[in-house]
Amino acid sequence: METQVHGKSVFFSTGGAKFNNAERTIIFIHGAGMDRTVWSMQARFFAHHGFTVVNLDLPGHGKSEGPACATIEEYSDWLCELIDCLDLHRVSIVGHSMGSLVALCSGAKLEKKIQKIALLGTLPKIQVHPDLLTSAMNNKHGAFETIVGWGVGRKAQIGGHKAPGSWIAGASMRLLETSKPGVLGNDLNACNVWEGGLESAGQIKCPVLLLLGEDDRMTPPKGTKELTKALHNSETIILHGAGHMMMTEQPDQTIETLSDFFE
């Protein structure tokens, strides 16, 4: 579906079901340099299980018009604007990696509209290695290789995916390769400079789920202690054998965990 925010076109998929803003809504927010298609199974599942789904392409990503936002605050302001435009009142947000920061930042602002937040592959502060940042800023393919090499868990690097014939490491690479020049660098930089994680967490009143990958080498689960301390109402679930791309590596387990949380 297409809509407009600040005069720029925004694309989101609805998981194959009708958009109905009177229903409880789940907004999915992808991570740095990615797009909505990382959530294809989860979006389809919840769209057919009692929710309206807004599976977003952030500005400058996928089919949404650019440019990408330069900071997490800007992404979050844009998201709040979109929620107004779509006239959504009962919203839950599922964010992955950079998307989890956008969810944290927005959760603090949305107050009564927000019902639940799920943070996947998250840290209160996502620091990016300077070499990776430089390489992404310069549009080097090596940046994609580092993201796939570190982001896709070691188990998924061998495979055995539940979706028949699906090669996750390859699909992750192709997705990054379709990102517009500079977008990955922009996003990693936005993560790197955002300091508001713990403060936002302290302002969030709704229930929050931290869904973490046991083998996540980009946002290791052990780094979330401060975050869970700052949140008023949170639970943490660690997916066995999953890396940073848990929703594509283990779509089924991700659906089951989210489904329990949203029930």
């Binding site: 194959g16 298609t37 199974m41 495979g159 055995g160 379709t178």
Partner: protein, 435 residues
């Protein structure tokens, strides 16, 4: 780390990709799931799987756990995003074509094709309204000028069959992409060990897994691999991928699955409806082959190089075609696209033409006379009387064939035994002729 960001290298992936040892029994080998169907966890779980909301197996025409390991493994080795295994190489080719076009579609193809592919393109697909224009594989501009408004695919073989033309993949990919078209390659003769066409611009790959991937000559199978790079939406020529599909509750494949749109449609529609699936036992056999692919291909190439040299020095031989030889027009291209070796197929002309060819083949002992290639055992055939017998002399010439042509698929036997056998049969064929 590979250029695909994988932390494991090719030979490791050949042995492991796609399989996590089963959690129940820890079976190290890939188990053969010889089953047609799978017990659902519940009504809702079943509905979700049918609706592509949750992953898993429903019915073995559409997917099977053993076959899925093979599909993932070839995707990993080719550097793609996913694959579908089929009943034969031909089934993979047909599935690939029918996923992106129907009535009125047009293909621009290299003229150096496997005889079966030639039949499909020239005689069978036209019955369903799909036509093909053939172009000399070395004529890059010819590909460009053969493209029409209704063209939906550019097709070729990485190493041509049986002329061993090396396709200029980067140049032809550029021609295809400039016209908003995908390039599909039959990479059977190269295997991903020798060439990874996605790295050079190809978009889709088909394999006859019957050949070197299996290597043992015990199972017929095919693979269709999606590179995930082609921008179907931007091209605007492929409604099967970019518009809602009534056959799947209005599913728009690109919208939902992004880089995996093509391969999802190929399975969800093509395997479901055309039904040319691979059996789990076949998948097991092909997997057994792929485990040793790098080792086998190294020896295939080593033996092929020696045989090519041996034939070049034989008085009974008129000419030899192998892409690494100095007089081969694609030598430079071969060293660029096939740096580890130009495969293990060799063609040569025997002195004395058709008659000498027959005697030669009948005298061979170690080399098997049969209609296949890519076996661990060395094979030989005389195309004029077998694979290409349905072609008239003119068409044969266009496909780079002549009546004296003998085609070898060099196997893994001891090189001295292979040479000695060729030597005695060549001598017998030549002496007969003199007498």
């Amino acid at each position: 780390m590979t250029s695909m960001g994988n932390i494991f290298e090719f030979d490791t992936l050949s042995l492991h990709a796609g399989q996590s040892p089963d959690s129940e029994n820890g079976s190290r080998a890939v188990p053969i799931y010889q089953t047609t169907s799978y017990v659902f966890k519940g009504v809702d779980h079943a509905a979700s799987m049918f609706n592509l909301e949750r992953p898993g197996h429903i019915y073995s025409r559409i997917s099977n756990p053993t076959t899925a390991v093979l599909e993932e493994r070839i995707s990993a080795l080719e550097g793609g995003v996913g694959a579908v295994a089929t009943a034969s190489g031909h089934a993979a080719l047909v599935l690939g074509i029918l996923t992106i076009m129907g009535q009125g579609g047009h293909i621009v193809a290299s003229s150096a094709l496997y005889g079966g592919t030639h039949n499909l393109f020239s005689h069978t697909l036209p019955r369903f309204g799909i036509t093909t224009t053939k172009v000399d594989p070395r004529d890059v501009d010819g590909f460009r000028s053969a493209i029409k408004p209704e063209t939906r695919l550019v097709f070729g073989e990485t190493i041509g069959n049986p002329g061993l033309e090396v396709l200029n993949i980067p140049a032809i990919a550029t021609v295809a992409h400039e016209a908003g078209l995908p390039l599909m390659l039959d990479s059977t003769f190269a295997t991903p060990h020798l060439c990874k066409p996605f790295d050079h611009g190809a978009d889709l790959i088909v394999h006859s897994a019957t050949k070197w991937l299996g290597g043992h000559g015990v199972a017929i199978g095919g693979l269709l691999v999606d590179g995930g790079k082609f921008d179907w939406e931007n091209s605007g020529l492929f409604p099967t991928l970019t518009e809602p599909y009534d056959g799947y509750h209005g599913l728009d494949f690109v919208e939902e699955f992004g880089p995996q749109a093509f391969i999802m449609r190929a399975r969800a529609e093509g395997l479901r409806d055309f039904g040319a699936c691979m059996s789990p036992t076949t998948a097991f056999h092909i997997l057994q082959g792929i485990e040793t692919l790098p080792l086998r291909m190294e020896k295939h190439v080593r033996n092929a190089r020696e045989i090519a040299e041996f034939l070049g020095g034989s008085d009974a031989v008129e000419w030899v075609v192998y892409p690494e030889l100095d007089d081969h027009p694609d030598k430079a291209l071969a060293s660029e696209l096939l740096p580890k070796g130009a495969g293990s197929m060799i063609a040569f002309g025997i002195k004395g033409g058709r008659e000498a060819g027959k005697t030669f083949i009948e005298r061979l002992q170690v080399w098997s006379h049969l209609a296949n290639v890519g076996d661990a055992k060395s094979l030989v055939i005389h195309p004029a009387s077998t694979t290409h017998q349905q072609m008239d002399a003119d068409t044969m010439k266009k496909a780079g064939l002549s009546e004296d042509l003998v085609r070898l698929s060099v196997g893994l036997e001891n090189i001295d035994d292979l040479k000695a056998d060729l030597k005695q049969a060549l001598r017998a064929a030549t002496i007969r002729k003199v007498v």
